[in-house]
Amino acid sequence: MIFRKKVSDNTEISSSGENAIANKEIEGLSQGQIVRRRFFRHRAAVFSLGVIIFIVVFVFTALDFRFLGIWHVKGWWKWSPEDLPELRFGDCPNDTVGCPTISLLPKALGGNGIGLGDHPFGQDDIGRDFFSLVMKGTQRSLSVMVVIGFLGGTIGTVVGSISGYYRGKIDAVLMRFTDFIITIPAIIIGSVVGYHFGNLGAMFLAFYLGLFAWTGLSRLVRGEFLTLREREFVDAARVAGASNRRIIFKHILPNAVGVIIVSVTLLLSGAILLETALSYIGFGVVEPDVSLGLLINKYQDSFTTRPWLFWYPGLFIISIALSINFIGDGLRDAFDPRQRRRISKKERQESASARKLAQAND
């Protein structure tokens, strides 16, 4: 059944009119402008970008922010994870304690009005405000994710571009080194350091995970460099006397930047899942620090009685990872020159009528 496909569906056999539309659109625009335009046309990606920005601002301004004891910014949320307010009980369903006070149903529809209440996400066993815990955990997970993405992205790009550009012995050595890193489980390094220096905190976790996260990216970048260095414009630059450094930074890297950005976004969404998974099985962020994976691990048994302790951390993980994946998809579409936008029926008709008009004028 799936083979009953109209030939006209195929973009390849499309009329030259579509190409004309596509070409006309990018006339006189720089590469950056084209990419930006294409990206902003991807509705899901733009929406996800908005979601991510909102989450970051929302989460990082919620709690008090201290920097080395000299810089102190007050957060907008009244509780902090260290506070121990009294455990709410009595008005919760099924005789549970510390249920969430968040309400999204307006009064007109029989709800309690839209509002956060005292403990929007409820309270944990000892009464700590779960909203502030989730905020703290999300801050941890987000910063771990950024560090992993930055480190992995940088090392992967450097290793990949050097081995792809210079080839030969350097390439062989670097790629075998990559294989070597792939075989070592990152957890072991964490446990060695944990034994000798105690728990060094979430940032250190992010650091050593980042040192192991670059392998896939470096292979990709290497492949990209291997193809790009054979292209005519690189030959032209070399004949014109450009140095290796100039060729790499001015000629090849800008052409490979699409691949790099896209895979770094995928690395980011993988990183947040990796961090939460490691914390879940006890090899990642450990108490008294807070992480989304740790929260889920701690309260999974209370799912039947107090499901909110399980739902909210999970929802934050999913919305972050999902938004980043969609942004990555939008970037891939934006950077891929072969990717052509779906031409709408209206545009096709307009172009056809314009062509007819032009023929008539001739």
């Binding site: 294989d179 072991i188 034994y195 099985i281 994976g293 999913i318 779906r342």
Partner: protein
């Protein structure tokens, strides 16, 4: 070619040597295996420490101890590998031998489901690019990408296992569910089939009607408590399989292939009762395996006898038809076992477990009951792993097929006037499978060591559990045993993937000039 393989193997063994050496020393300095003993107040503490030290050779410094361990591993070449002892006194080889089958059982079915489902959905989305089906599948696959498995597992336990068990207490599907399922199946099939508005609604209504009436029938007849297919339904389904496989494999236009696979469907009916007899009188894995061999032999024979020319595709078609139909007979046998299984004391009408790899209470010599017990315990982990991993295959196969469909040879094939089926199945699909095959190989090797979180969520004791045990208990030999197996498999799989790629795609040469 041989030189290439040997050179690669040489490099790989150097890499493995280096990483295992570093890993061994790292793990050795990560903690003291005697720490808990030193703190204990046991009167024979010193004796325990001494014996453990002797057994694990802890008096040798780690870099030297590594070579003792390596010497044991080199026993592989003389057929007697020695992985050393683990802390609890058993040999690591024994623990590995127990864990590997468990892990394979856990991930094999999920990986196969993920591949088959992911690739078929990916191909359909590529063929229906920019359709509503495509967009919704893109969303679903991104959602699956973003789900943490430990979170999904808890949800599945609660909503799939426990509610299904509750449902079985009174197995009547509520009318709202029936309507919902019918609508879902209508939308699903209609968007896959696509086409004009008329075909869309036709497909929608027929799919919704069929799904709705099947569920209603199941609900009214108490099928969920006493399921089964029976010879009639099996034959009808086999005929459907025969048509479907023939269409996909060689096209319905090939009458010989159609006749051959319909014969296989008929033979399924004839062999149904003898098969039941074998199942009941000679239960066990060996008879099932023998019957599978017989089925394939008959299929080859039928395929050959129906074809004059072009034999291989027809034999292929009959074999696929026969294997799928025979699979139905096995599924039917499991369904027949369902009722006695639920009636056992260990199960007591709550058949879907949330944890563990088998019911410890189930004490029965019956082969089919035991097998069904394994299947029910596999159910949740398989669903969770499939959900997590099939999204990647959807994205990848969609992307690859779209790229292939833009190639010149596809245009040539269309211009020659080949049917759409031939263009898709023979020209596009096969070329899509080249990069996918190599990914699959690496995936299969990766899953042996990769289910650490799944195992811990569902309480299975496989390779991931051993790894964790070794890491937390500073049990070097155990840790290194797990590492050795998984690392070797993964580097070998990468080599096999490279070789396969060059075998499948003649444009790629390995080792030629380099």
């Amino acid at each position: 070619m041989l030189a290439f393989i040997l050179r690669r193997l040489g490099i790989l063994s150097v890499i493995l040597f280096g990483s295992s050496f570093i890993l061994y020393n790292m793990a050795a300095i990560s903690g003291d295996p005697l720490a808990d003993l030193k703190l204990s107040t046991d009167p024979n503490r010193d004796f325990l420490i001494a014996s453990l030290t002797r057994e694990l050779q802890l008096d040798v410094p780690p870099p030297a101890r590594y070579f003792l361990w390596l010497k044991g591993i080199f026993g592989v070449f003389i057929g007697k590998p020695d992985f050393g002892m683990s802390r609890d006194g058993s040999t690591v080889a024994h623990s590995l031998a127990l864990a590997i089958p468990v892990t394979i059982r856990l991930v094999l079915a999920a990986t196969i489901f993920a591949i088959v489902l992911g690739i078929s959905i990916g191909i359909v989305t590529a063929l229906r690019q920019y359709s509503r089906f495509d967009y919704s599948m893109t969303f679903v696959s991104f959602l699956m990408f973003s789900l943490p498995i430990f979170w999904v597992a808890v949800l599945l336990k609660e909503y799939l296992a426990i509610s299904f068990n509750n449902f079985l207490r009174e197995p009547n599907v509520p009318i709202g569910w029936i309507i919902g399922l019918a609508l879902f199946s209508g939308v699903f099939w209609a968007s896959i089939i696509g086409g004009s508005r008329k075909t869309f609604w036709l497909a929608f209504f027929s799919a919704a009607l069929i799904a709705g009436s099947i569920v209603t029938l199941f609900s009214l007849s108490g099928w969920f408590l006493n399921p089964g297919l029976g010879p009639i339904v099996i034959t009808a389904m086999s005929v459907g399989i025969a048509y479907g496989v023939t269409q996909l494999s060689v096209g319905l236009i090939n009458k010989a292939a159609l006749k051959a696979s319909l014969t296989m469907a008929g033979l399924t009916l004839i062999f149904y009762y003898p098969a039941q007899w074998v199942f009941d009188k000679h239960p066990g894995s060996l008879p099932v395996f023998l019957m599978a061999c017989i089925t394939i032999t008959i299929a080859v024979f039928v395929g050959l006898s129906f074809s004059r020319i072009d034999r291989a595709p027809i034999v292929r078609t009959t074999i696929i038809t026969a294997v799928l139909s025979a699979g139905l007979v096995i599924v039917d046998k499991f369904m027949q076992t369902w009722k006695p299984y639920m009636e056992t004391d260990a199960i007591n009408y709550r058949p879907v477990p949330t944890i563990g790899q088998r019911s410890d209470l189930l004490d029965t010599p019956d082969y089919w009951l035991k097998s069904l017990d394994i299947v029910t315990h596999l159910f949740l982990p398989t669903v969770a792993l499939t959900l997590i991993s099939f999204a990647g295959y959807i994205r990848y196969s969609r992307g690859t097929l779209l790229e292939v469909l833009n190639q010149d040879y596809i245009r040539t094939a269309r211009a020659k006037g080949l049917t759409e089926r031939t263009v898709i199945m023979r020209h596009a699909f096969r070329n899509t499978m080249i990069p996918l095959t190599t990914i699959m190989v690496v995936d299969f090797a990766g899953v042996i060591g990769g289910a650490l979180i799944t195992e811990s969520v569902f309480g299975w004791s496989g390779m991931g559990t051993l790894f964790r045990q070794g890491l937390l208990g500073y049990d070097l030999n155990l840790l290194m045993g797990v590492f050795f197996i998984t690392a070797t498999l993964s580097v070998l799989a990468n080599l096999v993937a490279d070789l396969l790629y060059s075998a499948l795609d003649p444009r790629i040469r390995v080792g030629g000039g380099a």
